[in-house]
Symmetry: C2
Subunit: 385 residues, 2 copies
Amino acid sequence: MSAFTRAWQEIAPIGRADSGGYLRYALTEPELTLRDWFRTQAARRDMRVTDDGNGNLFAWRGEPWAPGTVLTGSHFDSVPHGGGYDGPLGIVSAFLAADRIDASRQIGIAAFVEEEGGRFGVPCLGSRLLTGAIAPQQAAALTDRDGISFAEALGSVPAGADLAKIGNVAAFVELHVEQGRALDVPVGVASAIWPHGRWRMDFAGVGDHAGTTRMSDRRDPMLTFAFTVLAANKEARLSGAHATMGRVQVEPNATNAIPSLVRGWLDARAADTGTLDRLVDAVVRKATERADRDGTSLTVTPESVTAEVAFDEALGRQLSKVLGNAPILPTGAGHDAGVLSAHVPTAMLFVRNPTGVSHSPAEHATDEDCEAGIEALATVLAELT
Amino acid sequence: MSAFTRAWQEIAPIGRADSGGYLRYALTEPELTLRDWFRTQAARRDMRVTDDGNGNLFAWRGEPWAPGTVLTGSHFDSVPHGGGYDGPLGIVSAFLAADRIDASRQIGIAAFVEEEGGRFGVPCLGSRLLTGAIAPQQAAALTDRDGISFAEALGSVPAGADLAKIGNVAAFVELHVEQGRALDVPVGVASAIWPHGRWRMDFAGVGDHAGTTRMSDRRDPMLTFAFTVLAANKEARLSGAHATMGRVQVEPNATNAIPSLVRGWLDARAADTGTLDRLVDAVVRKATERADRDGTSLTVTPESVTAEVAFDEALGRQLSKVLGNAPILPTGAGHDAGVLSAHVPTAMLFVRNPTGVSHSPAEHATDEDCEAGIEALATVLAELT
């Protein structure tokens, strides 16, 4: 059995639900178990582990944050019932790639907290804190669905940015399973992350009895929400962008009650900022017009809107070359690498995803492609250190 | 302070949420507290309390289930964040009406369990069990959102029907707040309950990443659900019926994931069975056609479909007459009285609802109209015993 297969089998049962997908929310029991696994892996390799006070863990070969260190790694947390590869593959690969390069090379392996935003609502929360993209007090006050704050889950208010340490990092390289069907060889290099964001849309109406209220007397926000779901899909198709409304909360959410409030989230992404802005504007305009007709109201709150990220172009070309002209491709998915790229020369390696499915129990990569990814990451770490 | 105002103030804080509405789910702490209040009221009046083994409570003047007894009462449970009048008004009025009639009259006061179906999904669960409209084993296995079964909440498998006892009841009269805007005097008499039902609609698609999945590769069940919400509204308007989709569950319900499953409930009601059947058929047909286009699938499960209830016509005319020609009107809302009417001469009294709002914190009736309702119920109980 290969070292990869063995490691993968070790972590596979942690946080797996009956769906076959994972419930690895940040700082809950399964993710804490994966952090223990991280510490064990580091200890086996005599790597020192540090915590940055934001919930991010680091394992170091050499002094922590020593000038010239190359950082790699990813995250353990999952979306609800997501796949096992998105995140953990980058951490497992980092340890196994470290085993394949000279022990004198200065490297760090990161496990960033709350990359998916699945628990506290803001994706890349750990990397945002470390780089100052979100204020510690603001992050501290974020709450999960049970009302537990990030500060409570962490045990303290997060420490916030440390740009001096970040400035010592020579490069950050994140290996990740590819999430579309854009790669037809085992390994590719990222060029850019589409600009993307989340917009919370609160549709407010008047709660009433579903049986007795005349249709003409209703102010039903579910109608406005439903219209907006279809409008977002249509506008995204027309503009060559992506729009999804996959999350909804309803009050009171009873079969025999017209809702008083329907809260939906718009996830929108496009290849450039102009297209994204036009898409979101069009969806909000159509939703607002429909709210007028339904007698409801709409409040839109942007959450975690992220500008386009272009990874370091020279670095990307260099990595593609040492990997035998690996293809260079953009992605619609956000990553901690996108946050760090504002401060550090950053690159990403993608491992082929045969079906393109991600954020689902069906997410998969073959062992052979994962091995190719580890070998590529080792080559890249050796090249950069 | 009137006896009504005093009683109403006593129970007003029980189970009230920050919304101003009520969380009085069956057999949870607030509803159990209301049951204690019921026992106290009975004890003050030397009324014996019995439990039918189905979760329904009864207070008796005279022997329990004695032949010729007139039964009145309603339910304590609420829809989530519902109003305070729907249910409790019928029980409070029953005790206060009992105080106004001769102590020799044989009456029973009922508090039926789970009338709203807000916890276990089947409305009128208590009256259905008592009359055999649902099997005890089937009711026992119903679960709430936390996976607790009705049998667990009740402490045993329900006892089921007792038609011999029911057969001894001379008449059942339920007083209830009116739930539309159909009444412009303080008190009216019900003629019928529209046929109505709940249909669970499971829209299944393929869960995937919201950022990276091409629009043309998606099989997003939220689109099919949204289309169905709008179709149900349109079909109900065209047919002069009522249709509502006010409850939805999404898996995984994450902002950055295309759902794998969206489960919506259709609440549909019409003045006659033919119209209701045509309405539901049209909604299901349109939803199925849309599912084909979306690459999703639809499974429809009827839950608690109730045929038209016509209350005892002679009894309704008699009560209208003793109440000075009170108006006689139908309703779109289901009630325990509708279930009992298959076995016992049954009538309902409605108390005016000035705004027509119900199943919402804004549900209201004036103290003066409630007093008029109590007086009317006393008149009716005196007439029938």
